[in-house]
């Protein structure tokens, strides 16, 4: 039975158990004797929990463990030559054995029965190819018996698993059903189960963070075992050569500095444009605008926040980049007489400008919240002493809101650093180290995308570097976020 069918069967058993449990507890409810502690629906859930939860736990444990067991027992029968090689060759061989095994299952029974341990692999693969299953050319004769063994082991495991899981579900249902009594505190048990489920759900946030850190950590360590951290963090040249067939095996250079410089430069330009605009917009909306203006302008600015970044990237690529290039050509023409553009279509300025558009609503809505949360009394006090509105804002409200605004800016900066699609389309791919904002630079995120799209070979520094970059990016933004959240928390307490 497929895993999905097993789950369905277990759920069906749970449902039947629930119905039976419901009827049994109903019978108690109407019979003379002690009063029912919990309502029948809880007894029903009690039976269903006993039926479903242990059996599904067993199912998932089995699904995790059995491939490992099968792998270890099959791979011990690999020939000496393969075992002597690295674990990579072993994995590769196992992959081929697996695909032969998968292929055999596709064959109609009468063809499958012709294959025995001694069938040469050429026959098998030609048979499989006729059914549209390609087999790697590295397949060898010794793999056929192993594929058969693998298939039979998998079949046995599945049979055992089906039996065990369904038996456990039945046993659980029976156990729960037998336990139904008027005095049974079914509600408390069921609520315990519910609470457990809630805790599990909220732990997923932690699991995700752990997943992020560990998934990148292993690959990063692997990367640093090939390229020294000093070379990565302090190198000024980025040129990871993709190692093709016949290359000399040199990995190229992985200098991180140009990427970091590009990232910070572009984010800096974006912040330089977005922060004043966003901040002034927020101040105007919080302090000057009447309700009607506010109700029109605020959603309009928030539309900018709802537009996917790929759209901004396209806008930069098709409209802003060419516009800046042509504009610079005009300016150069007027001032020097030669119409050569000094802004490249893909440049720090293009990416920064478009990213700024994306950040404006971010800055403005975050600071708007913070400014409006400054207590009314501070405002009234200042106005009452004869200060104008702008003086109140500059001398009273902004200083009071400063920590909150700083944290908003940190969050914005972290978003600017992690932004991907705009820079992928607008910033360029060449890892330059320049201070000219009219030239193209590249960022960490662009390089992560560039190293990981296309054909992957998971064991080269060229792909592993993406994880090292991701790890660095994660820590950069983590620091910004945590610090920002810390400020927000502290600031919140101040006025509550």
């Amino acid at each position: 039975m497929s895993t999905f069918t097993i789950i369905l069967a277990v759920l069906a058993i749970g449902l039947v158990g629930a119905v039976l449990g419901y009827r049994r507890s109903r019978a108690f409810a109407f019979a003379d004797g002690p009063k029912l502690h919990s309502r029948p629906v809880y007894h029903a859930s009690y039976v269903a929990s006993w039926a479903v939860i242990p059996s599904l736990l067993l199912l998932s444990a089995w699904l995790i463990v059995s491939p490992i067991v099968v792998y270890s027992s099959v791979s011990t029968s690999f020939p000496e030559g393969v075992l002597a090689e690295t674990s990579l060759t072993e994995d590769l061989a196992y992959g081929i054995v697996e695909s032969i095994g998968d292929g055999l299952r596709v064959l109609p029974p009468e063809e499958r029965s012709t294959i025995t341990d001694s069938t040469p692999v050429a026959d098998v693969s030609s048979m499989l190819r006729a059914r549209g299953v390609p087999i790697a050319s590295a397949a060898a004769d010794w793999m056929v018996p192993l594929a058969l063994q693998l298939n039979s082991m998998q079949a046995t495991s599945r049979l055992l698993m089906t039996g065990a899981v369904i038996l456990l579900a039945l046993a659980g249902a029976f156990w729960g059903y037998r336990h139904i009594q008027p005095r049974l505190r079914a509600r408390n048990s069921v609520e315990g189960v519910v609470r457990g489920a809630l805790i599990v759900a909220s732990s997923i946030a932690i699991l995700t963070t752990i997943g992020i850190v560990f998934s990148m950590l292993f690959e990063t360590i692997d990367f640093f075992s090939r390229i020294s951290p000093a070379e990565f963090f302090f190198g000024t040249e980025w040129n990871p050569r993709f190692s093709g067939a016949g290359s000399d095996g040199s990995a190229g250079s992985f200098g991180f500095i140009p990427l970091l410089a590009g990232t910070l430069y572009i984010a800096g330009v974006a912040m330089l444009i977005a922060v004043p605009i966003g901040l002034f917009a927020a101040i105007y909306m919080a302090e000057y605008a009447d309700n009607k203006t506010r109700s029109i302008v605020k959603p309009l600015l928030e539309v900018l926040a709802g537009i996917p970044t790929i759209v901004y990237g396209f806008f930069a690529l098709i409209t802003v980049g060419p516009f800046l290039r042509d504009l610079s050509a005009q300016i150069a023409g007027i001032t020097t007489g030669s119409y050569t553009s000094f802004i490249q279509a893909q440049s720090v300025l293009t990416a920064g400008l478009v990213m700024a558009i994306m950040l404006i609503p971010f800055v403005s809505s975050l600071s708007d919240d913070i400014i409006t949360s400054v207590p009314r009394s501070l405002r009234d006090g200042s106005l009452g002493l004869g200060a104008t509105r702008s003086e109140t804002i500059k001398k009273v409200i902004l200083p009071a809101a400063l920590p909150g605004i700083v944290s908003a800016l940190l969050l914005t900066a972290s978003r600017a650093i992690g932004e991907t699609m705009i820079v992928v389309l607008a910033a360029g791919v060449a890892a330059n180290l320049t201070i000219n904002p009219f030239e193209a630079m590249t960022t960490i995120t662009v390089k992560i995308v560039a190293q990981l799209t296309g054909d992957l070979e998971f064991n080269s520094p060229q792909t592993l570097v993406a994880f090292a970059l991701g790890m660095t990016l994660f820590f950069l933004t983590l620091c910004l976020n945590i610090y920002a959240l810390y400020i927000v928390r502290k600031y919140k307490e101040q006025y509550e």
Binding site: G278, Y288, G306, I307, N481
Partner: protein
């Protein structure tokens, strides 16, 4: 106060003390002007962005088609009897030849004039191969008959007709020749050339030719992912919020979860792509490019958004509701699930829709899990290779052809349409069901 006026000099009114009030008011006006300018710039950017997309993209919804009488000749296709026996010949037949012959006849070109014939046939999309094959395979009886068919024009014809080429430049520097322009005029005067609504944009998959490229397959991929996100992120998010808001004791563990959620909401999306690649594809061995993996990654990304929205909705339910339920003997769990949750449902729904809209527009993590694939067929299940709407936009954005710029903008309009629809639904729900306590 009154003393001062009495004892002051009565006839000579005092010169007003200059306290800089003018200057201060000027500063006030300037300050206000800065604010208005900032907002104007923001709105200007919005208009520029939307105008740029819409002005380039609206034409993508129309596609030039040519009305050509096609003779489904038996020489090319084989007899109907042969066709009924084996479809191999039908699959491989030279359909472009049929289209070419039909067009040459329609335009009255001498079939031996090689240059003229090839100029004319360049007006037809090579997508006619599939288009005509589908007609024949649907109905074998057309073989040997002549039927009027609307054929796709090539992207060059389409762009020329939409005025996207500068026709004043010398002939050899533009993709369409003078001879072809003559043919276009002739076809136009015959009424055989028409801009028809481009259904293909909504139904086709990836294609290397603009006229047969569409976002249909990508929309299905996105739909699968949205369903997965909805099925996973909503229950998990709601459960997590209920725990944190209603049950969790104040301790280190709860604090850790809170910091985690807030931080995850601000982690760059591309990092989730790396997580998906390392965990779901490398460890769990799920297939690359599958909608399932995309859905899982987007679920993890959307969770914080949904949790934050749900917690706000739960917090907005007044404590009196809880006290009333508890006072009547309901357990804590009953109170939460039977009273608080239903009252918070509209807020949760709104937050979920906004989270989904965010997930729908997300591109970067999907690039890393291999959804940048050339997918021409509809994915039958979430395990099949699929692509997503924003990823399709990304791939088209990298195409240089003029016709693809139009398609890309068209696809963006579709994407923005979906997002607008979702956000409007959210606003409507909020307006309709919001309760003020």
């Amino acid at each position: 106060m009154s003393d001062a006026t009495v004892t002051g000099v009565p006839d000579a009114s005092p010169a007003r003390r200059d306290i800089g009030i003018k200057k201060r008011y000027a500063a006030e006006r300037r300050f206000k002007a800065y604010g208005i300018t900032a907002i104007a710039i923001g709105i200007l950017f919005l208009i520029a962005l939307l105008w740029s997309v819409f002005s380039k993209g609206y034409t993508a919804f129309w596609q030039t088609e040519i009305h050509v009488p096609i003779t489904f000749s038996e020489q090319v296709l084989g007899t109907p009897q042969q066709a009924a026996e084996s479809q191999t010949k039908l699959m491989m037949a030279n359909y472009p030849q049929l289209a070419r012959e039909g067009l040459v006849q329609l335009l009255g070109i001498d079939p031996d004039d090689k240059a003229a014939v090839s100029a004319a046939s360049a007006l037809i999309s090579s997508g006619v191969r599939v288009q005509l094959r589908d007609i024949v395979l649907n109905d074998l009886s057309v073989i040997g008959q002549t039927q009027d068919v609307w054929l796709f024009g090539s992207s060059e014809l389409d762009s020329a007709l939409k005025g996207q080429y500068d026709l004043t430049v010398p002939e050899n520097r533009r993709p369409i020749s003078d001879l072809q322009l003559q043919y276009i005029d002739k076809l136009k005067s015959m009424g055989a050339l028409e801009q028809r609504f481009n259904w293909g944009l909504f139904t086709f998959g990836a294609s290397s030719r603009a006229e047969t490229a569409g976002v249909g397959v990508a929309i299905i991929g996105s739909l699968y992912m949205m369903l997965i996100v909805l099925a996973l992120a909503l229950p998990i998010g709601v459960a997590a919020s209920i725990y944190l808001e209603e049950f969790a004791p104040k301790n280190k563990f709860t604090d850790l979860i809170e910091v985690n959620i807030n931080n995850l909401a601000a982690v760059p999306s591309i990092v989730f792509g790396l997580l998906g690649l390392a965990v779901f594809i490398n460890w769990f061995g799920l297939p690359r490019s599958a909608a399932l993996v995309g859905g899982l990654v987007l679920t993890l990304m959307t969770l914080p958004t949904i949790i934050i929205a749900t917690r706000a909705a739960l917090r907005a339910v007044p404590p009196s509701i809880r006290w009333a339920a508890l006072g009547l003997g309901a357990s804590k769990t009953q109170t939460v699930f039977q009273h608080v949750l239903p009252l918070a449902a509209p807020g949760i729904l709104t937050g979920t829709i906004i989270g989904l809209a965010q997930a729908l527009g997300e591109t970067a993590p999907l690039l890393l899990i291999g959804m940048v694939a050339f997918v021409a067929d509809y994915p039958a299940s979430p395990m099949d290779p699929a692509t997503a709407l924003p990823v399709q936009i990304y791939m088209w954005a990298n195409e240089a052809e003029r016709a693809f710029v139009e398609r890309t903008s068209g696809a963006i309009i579709i994407l923005l349409g979906f997002l607008a629809l979702m956000n409007l639904t959210a606003i409507f729900l909020r307006r309709r069901f919001e309760r003020r306590w």
